[in-house]
């Protein structure tokens, strides 16, 4: 599963771009987070399908005048700083941080959208977003 940031400008924000592209290319587009008003905005999506479907979905989205940028951010945990409280898991909007019973955590790379909420929340500054 690959993740992308879609930037909508004013004018295009009211169009059903995702549905149109999904029907056309049969790629499954999952909206992970985002905010759009009539003035524009951005979405973080994952696109599922074979390579051909993903490529054509991206080019179709671009054809609708929406900018597409692949997300290469990964969340890193510094074990030396972590105290295994597990609190970061509660702020993650995509449930990409799995908290085990003892409080230790596991990061699901494919679920992380790189929003950074957990980075801000961590009292030990044990989490960071790295650009790949």
């Amino acid at each position: 599963m690959k993740k992308y940031k879609l930037a909508y400008s004013k004018g295009i924000a009211t169009e059903p771009v995702i549905s149109k592209v999904s029907i056309e290319t049969k790629a499954l587009i999952n909206i992970l987070s985002g905010s759009i008003t009539e003035r524009g905005g951005e979405l973080i999506v994952s696109i599922e399908g074979d390579d051909q479907q993903i490529r054509s979905a991206i080019s179709s989205i671009r054809g609708e005048r929406v900018e597409v940028q692949p997300i290469k951010k990964t969340l890193e945990l510094d074990q030396n700083r972590c105290v295994d409280c597990g609190y970061c898991g509660t702020v993650c909007p995509t449930s990409a941080i799995i908290v085990h019973a003892d409080g230790s955590i596991e990061i699901l790379d494919e679920g992380c959208v790189g929003c950074g909420l957990c980075v801000t929340a961590c009292p030990r500054r044990a989490l960071s977003i790295k650009e790949a």
């Binding site: 105290v83 295994d84 597990g86 409080g103 801000t120 009292p123 030990r124």
Partner: protein
Amino acid sequence: MTKTYSEINEKIKRGKAAVITADEMTSIVKEKGATVAAEEVDVVTTGTFGCMCSSGVFINLGHTDPPIKIRRAWLNDVEVSNPGAAVDLYIGAPQVSASKGIEYGGGHLIEDLVSNKPIKLRAEGSGTDCYPRESIETTLTLKDLNQAIMVNPRNGYQRYHAATNSSDLLLYTYMGMLLPQFGNVTYAGAGGLNPLSNDPFYQTIGIGTRIFLGGGPGYIIGEGTQHDPANGMGTLMVRGDLKKMSPKYLRGATFPRYGSTLYIGVGIPIPILNAGIARSTGVSDAEIPIDVLDYGVKRRDRPIVKSTNYEELREGTIGIQGKEVKTGCLSSLKIAREIAQELKRWIEEEGLLLTEPVEPLPKKGNFEPMRMGGTDEKI
């Protein structure tokens, strides 16, 4: 059957004492009952590892020549207070750096000190006939200090309420970031492993009890501030030698837009003198009630949105007003368990003896709101 402190200590000296952690005691009491548990077990060890803001360290710097009577001082740019004589200072865990703000506070400074890192001192003096020096700048480490004594006015809360947020705004609190519209629930404490929860009637814990504090030996010196046993929220005032502690159990912390604090490890050994104490140490997560309070209401007395317990909170989600809400602990259960294990090892392998308290903790506390007068009363 009853046992005395000296009988248990004799067993410890002979390496024959049965020492187990509070986790294990919960299962034993459940399976065999308190009477059998009291016969089989001599000591139960407890532990907790969480943020405890009301903590700090008294240090004595030694005298310079010519000497200085410190009026204001900063260590790594964190202002420390001058509670007494010329070169005595107190590092409060929530103090913040003049340059880095809450990203580096007293808690981080204490962690750096105990890690033997060099610390920059900057101080201003009054300049008197007996203490003529007016300023000093130098670098020190923990080894250079005459004393570094941790004295924490309020540690080891018996339990603590959980927090959530009904409002439409993201809140930044000492209970962490609370997402809008009941987006999450945060809680703290070690539940069934918590020291005071294992002795809620203070039958063994009191002034003079020898404890695990920050990885070294420490003592309870009395009840803590805001000690509130009537509501199951007793607290402890503790003391220990920072020079004997470990950075593993003292970790600085920053809560965004709130402040700096310190994670501290505290563990208390509980002698199983009788079946009543065995029953108390058999406490489970499910038996410790916790109210979830709404921090969306910005008042002293926040409304309770749900009554729950540690067992339910540890499930990972909890239902609030028909919504499944993620729960997260701000304390580390994993390190709390390590502390209980380490304390058990101290007793079994290093022969740490138990102390009979000089005086029990008071069963009555005082936690009243501030008295306000005149026009200031309205918020």
